[in-house]
Every structure is written in structure tokens, then in C-alpha cells.
Amino acid sequence: MVNYLLRRILIIPVMLLMISLITLGVMHISPGDPAALRYGLNPEVSATALDRMRELYGLDQPFLTQYRGWLIRVVSLDLGNSFIDDRPVQTIILERLPATLLLNILSLALIFAVAIPIGVVSAWRRGSFFDRSAGLLVFIGYSTPTFWLALLLIMFFGVRLGWFPISGMRPWYVQFMPPAAQLRDLASRLVLPVFATAFGGLAGLSRYARSSVLEVLRQDYVRAARAKGLTEKRVVWKHAVKNALLPVVTIMGLTLPSLIGGSVIFETIFSWPGMGRLGYNAIMNYDYPVVMGVGVLSAFLTLVGILISDLAYAWIDPRIRYR
């Protein structure tokens, strides 16, 4: 176990190395490529960026020299300053991180809380009305472009019905409200983004949970548990669910990269002041230090998430816990 965790942790620096290598490699090719400038959304920014890049990374120097320079900075936790407002990248990212974490952790919780019960009940009552309608919904959910869903949500609940605010997380005037009202405001602003972010994972995971429970229900030990005289409820909720959670937990870890990818879209659509939107804007403005910083950090977060899901797996499965 310890050995394994060590390997998982050791993979982090390797991964970060790879990411920075790719990023720098792409940057190395692109600023010289007029195509990038032509297609760039903001040619002026990219032109200034180019100059600053030369200055910052020494782009005239050989690639490996540049890379070494960058690595030294990363190791000393110096990600450089943003080209846009010249503030340190770490500071900017740290400002944005809580908003992203809040959104993603809430939607993860929502996914787990809703998808697993749906999957279990669907499998248990296979072929029932519930199963079939859940199956249909899940199927549609699975195929829905979620950014479009987010727009529809805004259109309907935000604009037409006016139930929820459609953008932002914490407008300036909130600070003048009492704490309870501040919290209520935040909650109402969270509803749409959390739902939109969770939607895709919800569909995928409940389907996965269903097939995983179905698989477990076919096992010999489930039949043996029934033969002991356990009620069907107990057989399903005790014997089947814990085993079925194993693959679900693994898949959860692998959902993280797409959650982070989703942040880029949803934070942009909902004007959410998180890392995703920061990264997107940095990309569009050729703000290289920020692009790189956000990339490195999101990779790191993914790895941490996967580490947590591994630990959860080991915690559930005694075959791993006791080597």
C-alpha cells in the first residue's frame, strides 16, 4: 500500500514535468508562428506578449536552456508575473482557487448523492418503470452538450422566470448585507452552475453505478446472502452496494479531468471568478505565465483527486488494505 501511494505521489513531479514541457514546447513553436498571431483574438496583446515572452523566457536561447530556467522558477515556486496586470501568478491563482473548488466540490457531492441511489435502485428494480425512465433520462443527459444546457438554464430559470441570478459569485454590494443574507445570495448564485457542472457526471455515473450493481447482484455471494435468509433490502444495500462502489470510486477519480475541463466552460458562461475562467482568458490573451500556472495547478489538483479516490478504494477493499 505504502509502496503504491509512494508511486502515485512520485508520478506527480513526472507529470508536472511533462505538462510544463508540453506547454513550453507549444509556446516555443507558436510565438514565431504568424498563424497564431493572425488567428489570435487580440493581436495587440499577443504582439506585446511576444516581446515580454522573449524577455521572460529568453526565447532566443536553445529550448533546453529555457526549460531549465523555467524549472528553476517552478521549484522555487516562482511562476512569474502576469503579462496583463503584472501581478505574481501564484497570487492571482490563489485568489481564484476557492471559487473553483467550491463549485467542483459541491457538484461532486451532488453527483455522488444523486447518481449512486439512482443507479442502485435502477439495478435492483431492473426493468421497472423507474429503471426505464431513469435510463432514458440518463441517456439523454449523457448526450447533452452541457454548455448548451447551461445556456438553456440561464434562458429559462434566469431570464424568463428570474428565479436565480445568472452570473457572478459575489457582487460588490453583498458585503453590505448581513451574513445570513450573504450566504443566501451565494447559494442562489450557486444553483445553476452546480447543476450544470454536475449534469454530465450525473448521467455517466448513475449508469455506471447501475451496471456495477447489476454485476455484483449476479455474484455467488449475493445468492449465498439470500440463502442465509437476509431480506432483499439488506442484500442490496449492504452486500451489493459496498462492492459496487469499488469501480464507481475508480471512475470518480477519472472524472476529475473532465470536471476541470468543464470549469473552463461553465465559469466562462456563468462569469464565475474561478481558475477555469482565469485560464481561458489567459489563453485568449496569450498571458503565458498564467496559462502555464493554471495548467500546472489543475494537473496537480487532478492528481490529488485521483490519490484520494485510490485511498477510498483501498479503504473499501480489504484485499488492498491488508496487502
Partner: protein, 275 residues
């Protein structure tokens, strides 16, 4: 289920192939007069017009070409990489397998979407780049599937029997392993087409995919976003098109899985119930 999905898939491929015949107008023909922009669906066009007065239906038909070709080619690329890497890892096993799988794992947990956006922004957004980049980032799942199949198939007794008959690597892979591994790969690839179309539409929505004036479902939605309150049709129709397209690939894939992959077949035949 597979039949419905298959029918829709074929219909959409045909629509994309014969787009010029199907579209009533040139998708790029702008008519920016105030009386012809943002027209609701009606006699002027079954789906109305956009902010530049272009016929939305025509743009949708051409947008379908983009989605389908990106979906198919990106999956083709990922199949190429995934099959090769997975087959090598699974067939040879040992340290080759470990090394390749460590690498695959890394690509798998890579925050791919963000990097796709970055690469496209820096190298220049173009459909060709979109296909290549999606393909390059989406092979790990397929690779793991192929590897798992190969790993288990190469231990099968019929493969051992063929080895004891003097069959070489090529014969073993071609005659004994690959044919038995293809069904799940095919299912996975079908489902992956839907996934690639979703990614492409998100990229185009963010402005890094198909560039105007080329129409794609994603960038139509992006343009319509600014008229959410006044011109709902610009958001609704392309979104529905994506939904239906992806749904039909998923239906086809799931249907194929039920037919091809006996492990996931839910109804049991008599044999497994024999006492």
C-alpha cells in the same frame, strides 16, 4: 435501440454528404439588412436567420459536416494510436507493458480539455488542428481497453494451442487475438464518436474550433448566446442537433454492445442456467 441509432447515424452522414443539395441557401451568404437578420423560424427559413441574416437551416446542415468529420477523424486518430499502443502493451506484457501503461495513465489523467484549448490558441485554431488534438488526447481509454483484451486473450488456451502449433506473432495476433478483441473496441469507438462531437462543439463554442465564417453547431450557439433573450432559435436548434447526433451514436454503441458483448448481455440464455 441499435436500429434507431444506426438509422439516425446513416441519415446524418447522408445529410452531411449531400449538404449542398439539402441546404436551400449558401450558408455564408450574409444579408445584413435589418429586415432579414434574426428572423424567427417561418416562411423566410425553417429555422430563421442569424445576426448576419444568414439562413440558419443551411448553416446547420453545413455545421453537421464539421461535427461529423471531426468526430470520425478524431476517433480514427485515437483508434490508430490506441490500438497500436494497447496491442503492443497487451501482447508483449512485461516491462514494455508497464512503461506504456504508465505513460497512458499520465495522458489519461491529464487535464486534457484545458490543454486542447491552449494548444489550439497557440498553434492557431483550425478544424484540422481540432481533429488532431482531440485524437491525440482521447486515445488512452481505448488503449486500456485494447490492452486488457489482449492481455486476457493471449493467455487463452486456444492461443497457447496455436503457439504450440508453431504459429508466429503475426498469425497469433491476426487470427487469434485481434478478431476476438474487435467487438468491444468497435463499441467503444462508436461511443467515442459521440464524445468527440461534444468536445468539438465545446471548443467551437469557446471560439477555438471552426472559425467564422465556417459554420459549426458550436459556434452558432456561441453567436446565439448574445441573443439568448431575443433569438432563442439560434441557441435551441444547434444544441438539439448536437444532442440528437450524440444520442444516436450512443444508442448505436450501446445497442452494439448488447449484441456483441455477451458479458453485458442482461437477459440470460438457457445455457448459463444449466444446473
Amino acid at each position: 435501440m441499435a436500429t434507431v441509432g444506426g438509422f439516425l447515424v446513416v441519415a446524418m452522414v447522408l445529410a452531411a454528404l449531400f449538404a449542398p443539395a439539402l441546404a436551400p441557401h449558401d450558408p455564408a451568404a450574409a444579408d445584413p439588412r435589418p429586415e432579414s437578420i434574426l428572423l424567427p423560424p417561418g416562411p423566410g427559413g425553417v429555422m430563421g436567420t442569424d445576426e448576419l441574416g444568414r439562413d440558419l437551416f443551411s448553416r446547420m446542415v453545413y455545421g453537421g459536416r464539421v461535427s461529423l468529420s471531426v468526430g470520425l477523424i478524431a476517433v480514427g486518430i485515437s483508434l490508430l494510436i490506441g490500438l497500436t499502443v494497447g496491442a503492443i502493451a497487451g501482447y508483449f506484457g512485461g516491462w514494455v507493458d508497464s512503461a506504456l501503461m504508465r505513460f497512458t495513465e499520465m495522458v489519461m489523467i491529464f487535464p486534457a480539455f484545458y490543454f486542447i484549448l491552449m494548444v489550439l490558441a497557440f498553434l492557431g485554431p483550425s478544424l484540422r488542428n481540432v481533429m488532431v488534438v482531440i485524437g491525440i488526447f482521447s486515445w488512452p481509454g481505448l488503449c486500456r481497453l485494447v490492452r486488457a483484451e489482449f492481455l486476457s486473450l493471449r493467455e487463452r488456451e486456444y492461443v497457447l494451442a496455436a503457439r504450440s502449433l508453431g504459429a508466429g506473432h503475426l498469425r497469433l495476433i491476426r487470427r487469434h487475438i485481434l478478431p476476438n478483441a474487435l467487438a468491444p473496441v468497435f463499441v467503444y469507438a462508436t461511443l467515442a464518436v459521440g464524445g468527440a462531437i461534444l468536445v468539438e462543439s465545446s471548443i467551437s463554442f469557446l471560439g477555438l474550433g471552426a472559425q467564422p465564417p465556417t459554420a459549426s453547431w458550436g459556434n452558432i450557439i456561441a453567436a446565439g448566446r448574445h441573443y439568448v433573450e431575443s433569438a432563442w432559435w439560434m441557441t435551441l436548434f444547434p444544441g438539439l442537433a448536437i444532442l440528437v447526433t450524440v444520442l444516436s451514436y450512443n444508442l448505436l454503441g450501446e445497442g452494439l454492445r448488447d449484441r456483441l458483448d455477451p458479458r453485458l448481455r442482461e437477459g440470460r440464455d438457457g445455457k448459463s442456467a444449466r444446473g
